[in-house]
């Protein structure tokens, strides 16, 4: 049975009618995970428990009492969310072998609705990075590296050598989750987004990546990078599915004091036909240095699409955009330095063998447990937090943050409903090229289009738009008003329908499991 369709529209019905069972779904996904192991998208595969969950779901469907749309749906979770009984590593030596005693709230919510937890996905260590290349379990490979679309456009080399050398990154830091969704090994995945870590890999892997408004979804159990910017992210194959996931996760959590108190009502997305009342803002500062001409053209084409359909499209200005990277780095490293202070080897996680003194044990544990990226950020952060530097850096950055947030307030106040911007500067880079620059440089470059939304706490979504000349996905980003996810996703859904982004044609996968995947009719955007 073809299950490429949306959760609400097709999968749920298929399960209810018994055309497919949760166990079958789970087994298919587990088999696919095995056959796509070279992608390195998963750190831990929870085979036994997921099959058990699938069986329990099946019982419920047999009784005609499924818990909801997510009952029996295989889901993957980024390995920085706590999962009780299943290893949570954050792709770090510091937490290798760490088995948390509790579930993150979002994980618990998924399980309570019958979702099947397939496993934990790979990431940059402690979510620091924009390539998913800097974790201790190795880099994640973008499934599109193995797609017919990419291979057709690649410079021909000898078959196997070409593949090995030219595979492209997923982007990061939620690369494993994006790859997992993109390669059909799960129906949806949780990521996290602090500066773009859900939207960036979503763009590179051709999937939908939603960053919700800060305070809408609980962070309890998400191992923090920057507490004041982190949000759980949602990765799916279509916008409707993102709305389903959002509906099951959003809402006040007493365990997270930064979640809003207001009631949240899950929603179904309307099929927008008339966009004439819509006002789309195009922030000129997002024409950033390094933006590829390809993406610039795509962005422009998208703006025209809205205009031709009757929407109001206006150029707007977010004047403080150019300060956001520097501001982000000060605030991010400061919070990182603070959040990482708990990793001392005493209560949990890696502990060094050094026993001469507590201090030496701490120092060795942290040197052994953290990679260079993490340690670099801790050192920077501590520098900014020193008494003599605090005003100059941290407080200053907070003030700049306020200005950046105000830029958005002004623009939305002027009547703009949604902003349209690129998500990334270019399509995914080959791994060998990406690692030529260090993590900090890469992050500084790649975060520029995404992290202002985190500074302002706004919702934002990547919608896969078209394939680049190299046959790789390119996405565009919509940024919405605070807590106006319904409007944001409605617009995103309309756009998704217009562009008809092509389905990935994974040839290895096709060979093993030809029944599952259909070819998509072309009608592609580019």
């Amino acid at each position: 049975a073809a299950l490429k369709g949306g959760l609400r529209s097709q999968v749920s019905a298929a399960l209810k009618e018994g055309r497919v069972t949760p166990t079958e779904l789970c087994q298919r996904c587990l088999a696919l995970i095995k056959s796509t192991k070279f992608l390195n998208a998963y750190i831990t595969v929870a085979e036994e428990t997921s099959l058990k969950q699938a069986e329990e779901s099946e019982e419920r469907y047999k009784r005609g009492q499924p818990l909801g749309i997510l009952d029996g749906i295989p889901i993957a979770v980024k390995d920085n969310f706590n999962t009780a009984g299943i290893e949570t590593t954050c792709a770090s030596n510091m937490l290798k072998g760490y088995i948390s005693p509790y579930n993150a709230t979002v994980v618990q919510k998924l399980l309570d609705q019958g979702a099947v937890l397939l496993g934990k996905t790979n990431l940059d260590e402690f979510a620091m990075g924009s390539g998913s290349t800097d974790g201790v379990f190795g880099p994640v490979r973008n499934p599109w590296s193995y797609s017919r679309q990419y291979k057709e456009k690649s410079i021909p080399k000898s078959h196997s050598e070409g593949e090995e050398l030219n595979w492209v990154i997923t982007g990061g830091s939620s690369g494993g989750s994006a790859a997992a969704v993109s390669s059909f090994t799960c129906f949806a995945a949780l990521g996290s987004d602090t500066g773009g870590s859900t939207r960036n890999p979503a763009a590179h892997c051709g999937v939908v990546g939603l960053k919700p408004t800060y305070g809408l979804i609980s962070r309890h159990g998400l191992i923090p990078l920057v507490n004041s910017m982190d949000v759980p992210g949602i990765l799916t194959r279509c916008v409707d599915d993102a709305a389903v996931l959002l509906g099951s996760l959003a809402g006040h959590d007493p365990k997270d004091s930064t979640t809003i108190q207001d009631d949240f009502k899950p929603f179904e997305l309307p099929n927008l036909t008339d966009v004439s009342k819509l006002s789309i803002g195009i922030p000129k500062e997002y024409h950033a240095p390094g933006l590829s001409s390809e993406i610039l053209a795509l962005w422009s084409k998208a703006a025209d699409l809205f205009k031709n359909a009757g929407a109001k499209v206006v150029e707007v200005s977010l004047p403080h955009t150019r300060y956001s990277i520097v501001c982000y780095h000060v605030l991010c490293t400061a919070e990182v330095a603070s959040n990482m202070a708990r990793f001392d080897g005493l209560e949990y996680g890696h502990r060094s063998d050094r026993t001469e003194s507590t201090e030496s044990m701490y120092a060795a544990t942290r040197r052994e447990g953290f990679n260079d990226v993490v340690r670099g950020r801790i050192l920077s952060g501590n520098y900014f937090l020193l008494k003599q530097n605090y005003e100059k850096y941290f407080v200053k950055a907070q003030k700049v943050r306020r200005l950046i947030a105000n830029d958005f307030v002004e623009v939305f106040r002027s009547g703009v409903d949604v902003l349209l911007t690129p998500t990334t500067l270019s399509d995914a880079a080959p791994y060998t090229e990406f690692i030529q620059e260090d993590n900090r440089t890469r992050s500084a470059q790649d975060d520029i289009l995404t992290q202002a939304a985190n500074m302002a706490g706004l919702p934002a979504i990547n919608v896969p738009t078209a394939l680049s000349e190299r046959g790789l996905p390119v996405g565009l980003q919509f940024i919405g008003r605070s807590f106006q996810e319904k409007q944001l996703l409605t617009v995103a859904k309309w756009f998704e329908k217009q562009v008809q982004f092509p389905m990935i044609q994974l040839e290895e996968v096709k060979r093993h499991d030809s029944g599952v995947f259909q070819h998509q009719k072309s009608a592609s955007f580019s």
Partner: protein, 456 residues
């Protein structure tokens, strides 16, 4: 030699009396088995978040009001970073920028020259009260080169009360802390028992000549009782004076009080000054408190704290209680101090006065001289007294009705202490202590004595 002016300020940490900890639901309990009261948050498991305990906020507001502070309607939480085995997260959550209460005062009384009859009232300014987490406990086992860490106490709510350097000696510091202790116990915001670590006092001490700026101060820690507080402060003042008079200098250091030797010693060095890298706590929004005026109409009352509501329900503070005792019973002010100073003694006194015809002014003597001294001799609390208020009242009634003499009464009391269950009347009969009222009988006895004399 020019005179020295000693300057003493205090930092007092009072453990909040609550069922659960400041930011997590684990229990607060003294002397529980090690690491049995530790939640995931207390152990700093990654991904856990703080959730503010309402009761702790109320305790701090009550305390702030009782100490005449302004309650900040908006206060903030911060992280104070340092590495130590008993601080699992590597930082303590405290209130460094804007604490919950500021600018208060505490009045306390002292006896001049040790005479109870001459009491003088002093005031110390309260700089601020802040909410913060307690740390765990670490026990250093040097023989096995290891440190044992117990996190039961980690995360328990504390109120840090900062008293300005308005005090000048050990006696003042002790009296101020004693009064604070009584206030906290009256409010119920802290049980404030120093022996159980519920009240910890650090003293800041310096000396200077009149007209000159304040001297370098030292911080004295490890003070385990109010008595030791007075000793530690006085010793440190003396030490500093001697040091300076011998041409030395005072280091801005932390010293520990050694109760056995009765002196202060430098603590293990902390390698220069610590930079705590304060940072706002991003997981806790600003703490907003309301009063009757600012309370929005449609606010869920479970979610908010109303300062005025708490103010209306404050119990009588010790100073008020003392005034009332003096007014109601006609006792002396210094008597009221002693009554309140002893847990349960005021209640005992009032209970006795209710049950006896003897005037309170006379009862008080029996309470303060006889009862109290006996209890002190045997290290008993009022609750543990073998002589109940009922029994004492009974005895005093016999005295009041002139059925026994005052001397006899003391004898009966001595017997009552044995706690054998006899009533005063029974003891009087047993020991034949009745006062003879019968005229004729008295005449006979006198006559017999006179006759006896004449025969010699």
């Amino acid at each position: 030699l020019a005179p020295w002016i000693p300057v003493v300020g205090l930092e007092i940490h009072a453990q909040i009396s609550s069922n659960s900890k400041l930011f997590s639901g684990s229990q607060v309990q003294f002397a529980a088995p090690p690491n049995s009261l530790v939640s995931f948050f207390d152990a700093s498991l990654p991904g856990t978040l703080p959730v503010l305990n309402r009761r702790c906020v109320e305790a701090a507001v009550m305390t702030g009001l009782a100490l005449n502070c302004s309650i900040n309607k908006k206060s903030l939480f911060d992280r104070k970073h340092y590495f130590y085995a008993d601080l699992p997260a590597g930082y303590q959550i405290t209130q460094q920028r804007v604490p919950i209460a500021v600018n208060g005062s505490l009045s306390y009384s002292l006896c001049i020259d040790n005479k109870m009859s001459q009491m003088v009232t002093k005031t110390v300014r309260i700089k601020q009260i802040q909410l913060e987490q307690d740390s765990g406990k670490s026990l250093h086992d040097d023989t096995r080169s290891q440190t044992l860490v117990d996190l039961n106490r980690a995360g328990v709510g504390l109120m840090e009360v900062v008293m300005e350097p308005d005090m000048c000696c050990g006696e003042e510091a002790a009296a101020a802390v004693r009064e604070l202790q009584l206030i906290l116990q009256t409010l119920g915001s802290s049980q404030a028992v120093m022996a159980e670590g519920q009240l910890r006092v650090d003293a800041n001490v310096s000396v200077h000549h009149p007209g000159e700026p304040y001297g370098v101060r030292t911080e004295v820690k490890n003070i385990n009782s109010i008595r030791f507080l007075a000793k530690a402060v006085d010793y440190e003042i003396q030490r500093q004076i001697e040091e300076l008079e011998n041409g030395g200098t005072i280091l801005n250091e932390t010293r520990a009080f050694d109760s056995k030797l009765g002196c202060t010693v430098p603590m293990r060095d902390k390698e220069g000054k610590q930079d705590y890298r304060f940072m706002p706590e991003p997981n806790l929004p600003p703490l907003i408190l309301y009063d009757a005026k600012s309370l929005p109409a449609n606010m869920n009352h479970q979610q908010v704290i109303n300062i005025d509501w708490i103010h209306e329900r404050l119990p009588d503070l010790p100073s008020v209680k003392r005034e009332k005792l003096v007014e109601q019973y006609g006792i002396l002010p210094e008597h009221s101090f002693t009554l309140l100073n002893e847990d349960g003694l005021a209640e005992f006194f009032e209970s006795v006065t209710k049950q006896t015809q003897m005037k309170p002014k006379k009862v008080i003597g029996w309470i303060l001289n006889d009862l109290l001294s006996y209890l002190k001799q045997h290290s008993l609390t009022v609750k543990e007294s073998p002589v109940s208020s009922f029994l004492l009242a009974d005895l005093l009634n016999l005295l009041e009705k002139k059925e026994i003499s005052s001397t006899a009464a003391k004898q009966v009391l001595a017997e009552l202490w044995k706690g054998e269950g006899k009533t005063p009347l029974e003891i009087v009969k047993e020991q034949k202590l009745e006062l003879l009222q019968d005229q004729k009988e008295l005449e006979q006895i006198c006559q017999a004595v006179i006759d006896g004399q004449e025969n010699e």
